[in-house]
């Protein structure tokens, strides 16, 4: 047993439960007294290493455990509170496997995170496999929190609130969080966990090499999965050294590389998931097939909080292929031999739902609520002299509208529950599924699938599709059932980007300087940070007003930055025009104490040749916004034809600190521009009689090739910590388009989506 570490092996699909509990610390099992610990790292990470079954080295790095009252980490003796976030296994055949605690939703997280580790390990990228860690508690991703703490002090990002015990700070263990979102993948895990794991393993291999060659470790270098002793020309593969390395004590201070030593990070590497995605083999939640599986379609009460009052199941039951009608508290589902049979039969039903007393609410009602909330908190009259500029902005509810509608397959049999679905957080999904099934978490197995888009829709707190699938599976037990949401169901039951209204007031003086920036906006208590512009303005008065609620809301790609980018950068433009200044020069001047922002702004303007002439009927708009540790500036070139807004070109400059995988970074910015543009031009979830009116893509239209502008991207590397890339590209899209539209038409559009008068 002593060195029997049983890590998930390559032959075990990552989401299968391990037959035995995985021991987080390889060395621990040889006796607590012998545990090696990295002194220097004790307060922020646990690390363990040992021999793998069949020979080879296994090394794991664990997450942070916070003590109750302060931001120090629980040191020694906290067994069971460590959460292994990263595993490395190097086998005697010189192959390296890295398990990364993040899921792949197309943002290249696995590849990027793997690169950070392999860089420190000095392994040959072609001899490495990067896999997603299974949904086991010991993988819970504590590092995610640290990435945020680095940015915002002790405030907890909103999407964690639901799954986080703030009082104890024991996030990972308490809530079972293993989350991909908030652009934290390359920020948190990457920087704090993976690099450490890679560097530690490299030190142990060097040590083993020093013993083998009989030289000092300082004379050795690791490169391409080999340890070299250049003076003598000797070298050995990692695989040849792992046997000895696995017996060594952990090094006391593994050295992390400085950025100028990077060889792999900063080069474009292909993603491993892509070949499967071009031949139709990638398996999404929607694609799961289990033996003897039934299919279900569902309709939930259209008004939030509504319940199923009554339904006559007979029209469905009479239909071919239908097995049963399942009534839930707030929904009705039909189980049939195919999804199509199920949906046809569901459409034949006339369920009656209650409306929770909200049947009178429509979009205008909601707008009125927000205006009334802001009326309660009026902005003070400015005390300075100068021109006072005021503006009111408003953004609608938005659906994530992932290309893959929600779907989950569940099977309750022999006291265990299996769930196959795509989720951004397998661990909390497990908790949710266990609660519905009335089982212990240990009896629940989550088999995570590829996600056909996430954007925040499959984050903790949004697993209603899993809850429903488990509820229906109780009725079909022991048979498995796949629940598929129609696009219409998906559109009507999202966790929407909130409806938000903001009121702004600024003062500009004669030479064109800003003296005051004041705002009140509806939202959550934590939203204030995004609303504080980087501009050097002495008198700032910014505050959030608690938002009235109607539809369910959630985290939508770039979260609160999605509205605040539009508000703040539209208003900055209004102030520039009020001051009679060029919008670029105006911002540039106000950023004299923010060199990173200024460099990004200047780069975007250079790329677009800001001051150069354009064809008649076209103009440029500029916007800059920081979110998730990255700064993005966009210049959009916009025109109007037959009343339609056309965006010809977007120049995007990005400072995300470090670019790990340039080609993936580029793809993220491309995607963000399109995502932001769909919202700017088309997207609006509207409410009538309490329910969402939108049904499908015709009334929630998407940018397609014909509307997709040419996008040029330029990255500026800085010494800043690694910033996110999945989301920061979104906020500066809508304001840059709106600002350009103002320049073309003279119309200042303060509501999204942008509709010309």
């Amino acid at each position: 047993m002593s060195d029997e570490l049983t890590p998930p092996s390559a032959s075990t699909p990552p989401t299968e439960p391990s037959p035995e509990p995985i021991t987080p610390f390889g060395k621990i099992s040889t006796g607590a007294g012998k545990r090696s610990r990295l002194r220097k790292w004790t307060r922020r990470a646990f690390i363990g290493a040992g021999a793998a079954a069949g020979g080879g080295l296994v090394l794991g790095v664990g997450g942070i455990v916070f003590s109750p009252n302060r931001l120090s980490y629980v040191p020694d003796g906290a067994e069971g509170e460590g959460h292994l976030t990263t595993w490395i296994r190097i086998t005697p055949n010189n192959h390296t496997t890295v398990l990364v605690p993040h899921c792949e939703m197309g943002q290249g997280a696995l590849t990027g995170l793997g690169m950070l580790l392999v860089e420190e390990l000095d392994a040959d990228w072609n001899l490495c496999t990067i896999e997603e860690a299974p949904a086991e508690d010991i993988y819970a991703n504590g590092y995610i929190l640290h990435a945020f703490l680095g940015e915002v002090g002790v405030s907890i990002p909103g999407f964690m609130g639901r799954a986080f015990d703030f009082g104890s700070f024991k996030m990972a263990q308490f809530a079972g969080l293993q989350v991909t979102g908030g652009s934290t993948s390359t920020r948190g895990t990457g920087v704090f966990g993976l690099r450490l794991a890679g560097a530690t393993a490299r030190e142990m291999l060097l040590e083993a090499g020093a013993e083998q060659f009989g030289v000092s470790k300082a004379e050795l270098v690791a490169r391409d999965s080999r340890v070299h002793h250049e003076p003598s020309g000797q070298s050995a593969t990692f695989g040849e050294l792992v046997g000895r390395a696995s017996e060594l004590d952990l090094p006391s201070s593994p050295r992390l590389k400085s950025r100028d030593e990077y060889r792999l990070v900063g080069t474009s590497q292909d993603r491993a998931d892509i070949p499967g995605k071009v031949v139709g083999e990638a398996g999404y939640g929607m694609d799961v097939v289990r033996p003897d599986m039934a299919y279900a379609a569902i309709m939930r009460a259209p008004v939030p909080g509504g319940q199923l009052a009554q339904v006559d199941p007979s029209p469905a039951e009479a239909m071919n292929g239908v097995e049963q009608v399942v009534q839930l508290d707030d929904a009705v589902a039909v189980v049939a031999k195919s999804y199509w049979h199920a949906q046809q039969a569901l459409d034949a039903l006339e369920p009656q739902f209650t409306d929770a007393g909200l049947g009178h609410v429509d979009t205008a009602t909601i707008r009125g609520w927000h205006a009334a909330a802001l009326d309660e908190e009026p902005l003070a009259e400015p005390t300075q002299g100068g021109q006072v500029v005021t503006a009111e902005y408003c953004v609608p509810y938005l659906s994530h509208a992932t290309m893959e509608p929600m779907a989950a397959t569940a099977q309750l049999a022999d006291g265990r529950l299996d769930v196959w679905c795509g989720t951004q957080d397998p661990l909390s999904t497990r908790g949710v599924a266990a609660a519905v099934a009335g089982l212990e978490r240990d009896a629940v197995y989550i088999h995570n699938q590829q996600l056909g888009g996430g954007f925040g829709r499959r984050l903790p707190g949004t697993y209603d599709y899993v809850e429903q699938a488990v509820a229906v599976a109780k009725a079909t037990a022991p048979r498995p059932v796949k629940l598929v949401w129609s696009r219409e169901e998906d559109m009507r039951h999202g966790y929407y980007r909130p409806f938000v209204m903001g009121r702004f007031q600024g003062v500009v003086d004669e030479p064109g300087r800003i003296h005051r920036w004041a705002s009140r906006f509806t939202g959550r208590a934590t939203d204030g940070l995004e609303a504080d512009p980087p501009y050097g303005i002495k008198d700032k008065d910014i505050a959030v007003v608690t938002s009235p609620a109607h539809l369910r809301t959630g985290e939508w790609r770039s979260v609160a930055a999605s509205q605040h980018g539009f508000f703040a950068e539209s208003f900055a433009d209004e102030l520039a025009h009020a001051a009679g200044r060029d919008p670029f020069e105006f911002r540039r001047e106000l950023l004299s104490d923010a060199p990173r922002h200024r460099a990004v702004l200047e780069r975007a303007a250079d790329m677009a040749r800001w001051a150069s002439a354009l064809p008649d009927g076209r103009a440029r708009g500029i916007a800059i916004f920081e979110s998730f540790g990255s700064i993005v500036a966009n210049v959009c070139e916009v025109g109007v034809e037959n009343g339609r807004i056309l965006v010809y070109r977007v120049d995007s400059a990005v400072d995300c600190g470090l670019v790990v995988n340039p080609q993936q970074a580029l793809a993220q910015i491309h995607g963000s521009v399109i995502f932001g543009l769909s919202a700017a031009l088309f997207h609006e979830i509207t409410v009538k009689e309490g329910a969402v009116e939108n049904r499908n893509f015709p009334d929630f239209n998407m940018v397609r090739l014909a509307q997709a502008p040419r996008v040029n991207v330029s990255f500026i590397e800085s010494d800043a910590p690694v910033g996110g890339l999945g989301e920061p590209g979104v906020p500066p899209v809508a304001p840059a388009v709106a600002n350009a539209l103002f320049a073309v038409t003279g119309q200042r559009l303060r509501d999204l989506p942008l509709h010309l008068a």
């Binding site: 939703m105 197309g106 943002q107 290249g108 292909d270 993603r271 998931d273 892509i274 070949p275 499967g276 995605k277 071009v278 031949v279 139709g280 083999e281 990638a282 398996g283 999404y284 929607m286 694609d287 097939v289 299919y295 071919n320 195919s338 999804y339 199509w340 509208a401 992932t402 290309m403 893959e404 509608p405 590829q450 996600l451 056909g452 888009g453 996430g454 954007f455 598929v484 129609s486 696009r487 080609q663 993936q664 793809a667 491309h670 995607g671 963000s672 521009v673 399109i674 995502f675 499908n696 893509f697 015709p698 998407m702 940018v703 397609r704 090739l705 014909a706 997709a708 040419r710 996008v711």
Partner: protein
Amino acid sequence: MIDFTLNGEAVSLDVPPEMPLLWALRESAGLTGTKFSCGIGNCGACTVHLDGAAVRSCSVPVANVAGRAVITIEGLADGEALHPLQQAWIDHQVPQCGYCQPGMLMAISALLERRPDVTDEQVTESITNICRCGTYERIRSAVQSVVQKTDEDLDEENGNV
């Protein structure tokens, strides 16, 4: 029973004639590469080839394909040899989540079949498939990397204009 040719092989599916081809493919024939997204013929995720033309399988009753030839993403490659577009998709690392890509590949491969020298403008005009992840920029470059260049294109590229 509906009989047709699926990826080169004769199949016989026991499904109602009005069932959309999409569901017959996914749930009866067991080919899940063809994707469901909107179900109303709007997004293109379910695109397949019917006698060589791109169709949105969510909006084609399976009865309509009786006696005809259907190719899905699983049959786009020629055995082990990927279709040139599939290879270009890998070379240009086109997909993000990938969910729309089978439909994209089927729609664009049918277009290329008709117009081997298709221009970027023609692709932009005729391909209305949705990619929520916004991979359009790479789709454009990948397509242009496989189109057959006309003599004029080559002249232009070589600076002989």
